[in-house]
């Protein structure tokens, strides 16, 4: 009778638990979505920043022309006159996802615009990502930790910064793909099911489609496999989890045009193949060990090892030769700067010039993952109690991602899920201990100690049982190996018994601790909401400032782009620094010379050179590029700090890197960058200075630059080869037109020709590196 009752209550508990966690997950999803809507509420439903505009444009093309045209798309609106093969050089995951979403919605007559779908893709996928985190953490440390980790991830500021509504960037879907791939890997590792292994390869394929960061997966998983083998944790499950992933995953990855043969030819992927070989050797060894007697096995080992060593060296030699034959040693610049953080600043100014490629500062850790930074160590410790295959993976994940985030601020994004998982585990374990202690004491006051001890065991037993049965319900279709079942039952119950005895804390302490942990969580929530609302929601194309007379909106960028799109010819070329390339093609629909896809350093250097040359030389370069309009961003009137004058040194550096006549010291006075009266004549005569400050002095009479907080050096000057055609309301964007060359008076040219035909030719060549 009693047994029946307990079983019934167990069923009830189980059902209730399922419904509860389902509801909690749903709410987490809703929260993950809605916390990212601050940008829409505070600003508007608009695509943010730079790269999202390119993705948006590609998606527009995809929805308009279909997927086959998309693969073959040669874009002649950018990198004029080179153009760019978009279909073969983008990670298509994001655009295909949003395009499919749009198509489905339209086919059931929900006529959302492409823009709306793009704006809300990131929040939707962050809900998915938090659910994937739940699944992954549940595989590692159970449902409680899973729910906590999911809740933490739903609002971790680092991830919010890349996935607010409108931030339509690869990372938005890639983080989901990353976590989900890891989940499927762990799931396969725990179950040994080939079904999940196949799914894992598909998830990996999706990740490859979405983001260049897939190399992190294809290096981390082999590392984990190697770790398992080295620590003697090899099992057939490990083999099933890994071998199909490498084979299928590599094949699938090679299908993505942007990856193609890189999937087998670049060094980023070699680790996986090496481990693939190792795991086969190990599997073979285990197999042979199984059939041979111990003596025979020893003999075989000595034989094989000696032969194997030779073979290994041969293979290694071939690999090294292959790697050494390629100029960058088979590594792409970005990957190299990951391994050697000083690489980029030494050799590739174009990578170093991007702020998100800089190493992060300590405050940015606090800003982006907040209290998680303190919870992570606790989570790592929890992972070692007991150490399983899955938890060792989590530890490896956090350790590597901490390193990578230390190299590049952008990769903080990879750290965030790991930190959430670890903190989720830590918080969940802490709550577990505290609540159990409280329960122990509360029950202890009403009943005698012996009984309550038994009760406590029963409760924990029940917990374990319900957890286990939950597992079986979820995995009905998959066949679990008996061995694993046994492990599951035995290990946790043993552990819980040990824990129970060790970790019963005094009641007051536990209550205080629970209170403090809740406070910590509350602090985290407050910080996340603040970060989402204030720090990460600005779309950066429209700026606002609050002053005593209310909100002031600076919508100059779109003003300029709208002007370009309506009042210039469709085929006109617009030159600007590459930051504004994507926006110009997407919003103004005009051909640009360079854009944010910095694939051609020389081309960018040409534009950099033009902007740092004197007017005539710049005119020659631009004219040779068929440029009709030059666009500069100028913040001096309203105090917008990230304008072209502040970026100017990078233009000089990048230009000088290719065209040596541009020298950085010429623009610096005693190593200082300045634009006031102390500035060098080269600086005051370069095109960027002139275009930025043309007639600026007439605004206030003395030309006071609010960003540099100084009066400008050269105030009154004329432009001979350029003509101001548009300046936005707050002067933030200024557009100039190249004047057409003046008609030559016949006699004059003849004379000048006869006078200095040789010298002029040489001098133009010196000035204009493009001819």
């Amino acid at each position: 009778m009693a047994a029946q009752e307990t079983s019934q209550s167990a069923i009830f508990r189980h059902a209730f638990g399922n419904v509860l966690s389902f509801t909690v997950l749903l709410l987490i999803g809703v929260m993950a979505f809605s916390i990212r809507l601050f940008s829409v509420i505070k600003y508007e439903s608009v695509i943010h920043e730079f790269d999202p505009y390119f993705n948006y444009r590609v998606t527009q093309f995809l929805t308009k022309s279909g997927v086959y045209d998309f693969w073959n798309w040669f874009d002649d609106r950018t990198w004029y006159p080179l153009g760019r093969v978009i279909g073969g050089t983008v990670y298509p995951g994001l655009t295909l996802t949003a395009g499919t979403l749009w198509r489905i919605l339209n086919s059931i007559n929900i006529p959302l615009s492409v823009e709306t779908v793009c704006v809300f893709t990131a929040p939707v996928f962050s809900a998915f990502a938090s659910w994937a985190t739940y699944l992954l953490t549940k595989e590692i440390k159970g449902a409680g930790a899973g729910l906590t980790a999911a809740a933490l991830l739903a609002m971790v500021p680092s991830y919010i910064s890349r996935s607010v509504a409108g931030s339509y960037d690869n990372e938005a879907v890639a983080i989901f793909a990353l976590i989900f791939t890891f989940y499927l890997y762990i799931k396969t590792l725990n179950t040994g099911s080939l079904f999940y292994a196949t799914l894992n390869a598909i998830a990996y394929f999706y990740m490859v489609c979405s983001w260049g960061g897939y190399t992190f997966i294809i290096n981390l998983i082999p590392m984990h496999v190697l770790l398992c083998i080295v620590t003697g944790r090899y099992s057939p499950r490990l083999y099933i989890a890994y071998a199909p992933l490498v084979v299928l995953g590599t094949l699938l990855a090679a299908l993505v045009p942007v990856v193609g043969f890189n999937a087998v030819m670049t060094s980023e992927h070699f680790a996986s193949f090496l481990v693939f070989i190792i795991i086969h050797v190990v599997a073979l060894v285990y197999y042979i060990k199984g059939i041979l007697t111990p003596q025979m096995f020893k003999v075989a080992v000595t034989l094989v090892v000696s032969v194997g060593m030779v073979l290994c060296f041969a293979v290694l030699a071939v690999l090294i030769a292959l790697v050494a034959s390629s100029p960058t040693k088979g590594w792409s610049g970005r990957s190299l700067s990951l391994l050697d953080p000083t690489y980029a600043s030494k050799y590739i100014p174009i990578i170093a010039s991007v702020s998100e490629h800089q190493p992060p500062t300590w405050p940015s850790y606090f800003m982006d993952i907040n209290v998680l930074a303190f919870l992570v160590p606790a989570g790592i410790i929890a992972c070692f109690l007991p150490l399983s295959d899955a938890s060792s993976f989590a530890v490896l994940y956090i350790v590597t991602s901490v390193y990578f985030s230390g190299v590049m601020v952008r990769l903080m994004l990879v750290l965030a899920p790991a930190a959430c998982i670890m903190s989720g585990i830590a918080l969940s374990e802490a709550f577990d201990v505290f609540t159990r202690s409280i329960k122990f004491h509360l029950v202890g006051t009403t009943q005698n100690p012996q009984e309550n001890a038994g009760d406590a065991t029963k409760v924990t037993q029940n917990d374990v049982k319900s957890e286990k049965s939950e597992d079986t319900v979820k995995e009905r279709s998959s066949r679990k190996s008996k061995k694993k079942d046994k492990e599951n039952i035995e290990k946790p119950s043993l552990v819980s018994r040990v824990e129970k005895r060790l970790l019963v804390l005094p009641l007051e302490t536990s209550v205080m601790a629970v209170f403090l942990v809740v406070l910590l969580g509350a602090f985290y929530v407050v910080h996340c909401v603040w970060a989402a609302a204030e720090a990460y929601s600005a779309p950066s194309i429209v700026l606002t400032s609050r002053s005593h007379d209310g909100l002031h909106v600076f919508d100059d960028f779109r003003e300029a782009y709208a002007w370009l799109s309506h009042n210039t010819e469709v085929d006109d070329k617009v030159a600007s620094w590459w930051d504004y390339g994507y926006q110009t093609t997407a919003m103004a629909n005009r051909t640009v010379i360079v854009d944010n896809n910095t694939w051609n350093n020389t081309h960018i250097a040409t534009v950099g050179t033009a902007l740092s040359s004197p007017e005539k030389a710049a005119w020659d370069i631009f004219n040779s590029l068929d440029v009709k309009y030059v666009l500069v961003v100028f913040g001096g009137l309203v105090g917008y700090p990230s304008d072209d004058i502040n970026k100017f040194l990078w233009m000089v550096r990048i230009g000088g890197g290719v065209f040596p006549h541009i020298k950085e010291p010429d623009y610096l006075r005693d190593g200082q960058y300045r634009i006031d009266s102390q500035a060098t004549p080269t600086m005051l005569n370069c095109l960027m200075y002139k275009l930025s400050y043309y007639r600026f002095v007439e605004t206030d009479g003395r030309g006071y630059d609010k960003v540099r907080n100084t009066e400008i050096g050269k105030k009154h000057f004329k432009l001979n080869h350029f003509e101001e055609v548009f300046t936005t309301h707050h002067w933030m964007v200024r557009i100039y037109k190249l004047k057409s060359p003046r008609n030559r008076i016949r006699g004059k040219t003849k004379r000048s020709k006869s006078q200095k035909s040789g010298t002029s030719k040489r001098s133009t060549r010196k000035k204009n590196p493009w001819q």
Partner: protein, 464 residues
């Protein structure tokens, strides 16, 4: 020589015969007074004709003649007749429609005005005619710099073109300012301030024409909406949603050379006088959820003022519009259903909405009005006080199954005078309102039912 004289004679005879045949209706204009208003970019001509019938047969219609170039730019012709004597004078509108005449000299085009009652011999009547010309002011010089004023040409005839003999006539041309560069002298003609006075001229025969050019300064914003698409979507759940897509252009003298922001900002009166930076849209009262954006997002420079009579939306395009510059934008708003939808008979409803462009003082080259009727409505019919091109379309909006009927009305050359109500009648069964909620509810029901079923089905072959 003789041959030349002879041919000239033949020509004169032919001319006489031609004119006599044209004026064979026997009407005569005793007095014609014309006032041409050139104050904006829309030319409004007020014409008062005092007509007498000189023949026995009663006249039922009066012809108005237009030169072909003017006819193409004619947006509207309105005619009215004065009824009653001095004190109780009132105007009765008359129908005016374009007609063809067999022997029209030099491709002259006509409008015929039908009189209320036939005009017997010797009777006189006075017609008040208003016609509106668009795009009839030609900027000259064609391109101006930022600091230049905008000068335009207006071409017309000093003498009213008419198929009838005109006994007395006079024309007054009103220009926006005193700055008149030049005007064609046709004696007697004189200028006083912003008024040019041509005439009085006596006894001109039919089809007399005397071309004049007035060259004057007109800094009025030449705002022309090249294309306007208004979509009026009726929802029986209580709202009419209006979306208006504009393609705006400044059709004045083209902007030449540099645009200097510092000059534009520091000398608002002296620089860019012919440019404009804001427009006023007059929307219905009780308007809600107004938005103003373009294809790249919200435009933050707009202001809405509402009162019980009307709502005024002051919109600023992203940048000031100089001659030749263009801009596109979109205005959307909702208005309460009960203000515009009425029940005419059980099951039959009609929408009463305003035709034309809500932006004040603009010309619309091509106006398309799409009235999206709710899903399941039948038998649409339209009542418009002037001719428009009509067609039907289908549109699939949120969760539609059979699609919504869209009534499409197209009209070219629309001026503010076209801002009059029109009606769309249709039949609608209120049960259709429930279709979409029911569909959604049943979808969710099926979803839950399926998940319940899934949880209870065990498809494994062997029992555990």
């Amino acid at each position: 020589m003789a041959a030349a004289i002879f041919s000239l004679f033949i020509f004169l005879v032919a001319l006489l015969i031609g004119t006599s045949s044209a004026s064979s209706s026997g009407l005569q204009i005793l007095q014609a007074e014309r006032q041409i208003e050139l104050t904006s970019h829309i030319v409004r001509v007020y014409l008062t004709l005092k007509i007498e019938n000189t023949e026995d047969a009663p006249a039922t219609e009066v012809l108005l003649a237009f030169p072909p170039t003017q006819f193409d730019h004619l947006a509207l012709v309105k005619a009215a007749v004065t009824v009653g004597k001095k004190r109780k004078k009132s105007y009765a509108p008359l129908e005016a429609k374009p007609t063809e005449q067999r022997d029209a000299p030099n491709g002259t085009k006509y409008y015929s005005v039908s009189l209320l009652k036939p005009l017997a011999k010797g009777e006189t009547t006075t017609l008040e005619i208003l016609y509106i010309l668009t795009q009839s002011l030609e900027p000259f010089p064609k391109e101006i710099a930022q600091s230049d004023p905008q000068l335009v040409y207006y071409r017309d005839s000093a003498i009213v073109l008419s198929p009838y003999h005109i006994a007395h006539q006079a024309t007054v041309v009103k220009t926006p300012s005193n700055n008149v560069e030049s005007f064609t002298q046709v004696d007697p003609a004189q200028r006083s301030g912003s008024e040019l006075r041509y005439g009085p001229y006596e006894g001109h025969g039919p089809y007399s024409y005397s071309p004049i050019i007035v060259h004057f300064e007109n800094n009025h914003p030449f705002a022309v909406v090249e294309e306007l698409e208004r979509e009026i979507e009726i929802s029986h759940w209580g709202s009419v949603q209006v979306t208006e897509r504009y393609k705006l252009a400044h059709t004045g003298a083209k902007h030449k050379g540099a645009f200097s922001r510092v000059e534009y900002q520091s000398r608002p009166g002296g620089s860019g006088v012919s440019s404009f930076k804001h427009l006023l849209a007059v929307l219905p009262p009780r308007v809600h959820s107004v938005y103003y954006r373009d294809e790249i997002g919200n435009i933050s420079t707009s202001r809405l003022r509402t009162n019980s009579k009307k709502s005024e939306l002051l919109i600023e395009p992203r940048y000031p519009l100089f001659g030749g510059w263009k801009a596109t934008f979109l205005i959307g708003y909702g208005v309460p259903l009960k203000d515009f939808l009425f029940e005419s008979a059980p099951g039959a409803r009609y929408l009463n909405y305003t035709f034309g462009c809500p932006i004040a003082d603009t010309v619309v080259d091509k106006l398309t009005i799409k009235v999206v009727l709710p899903e399941g409505s039948k038998d649409p019919s339209v009542e418009v006080p002037f001719t428009v091109k009509q067609s039907l379309e289908k549109k699939y909006s949120y969760l539609d199954v059979i699609g919504r009927t869209v009534v499409v009305l197209e009209k070219r050359n629309v001026v503010p005078e076209h801002h009059v109500p029109f009606q769309v009648h249709y039949k609608f069964n209120p049960l259709f309102m429930l279709a979409e909620p029911l569909m959604l509810a049943s979808t969710f029901f099926l979803l839950f039912a399926a998940s319940v079923a899934y949880l209870h089905i065990d498809l494994s072959i062997r029992k555990k």
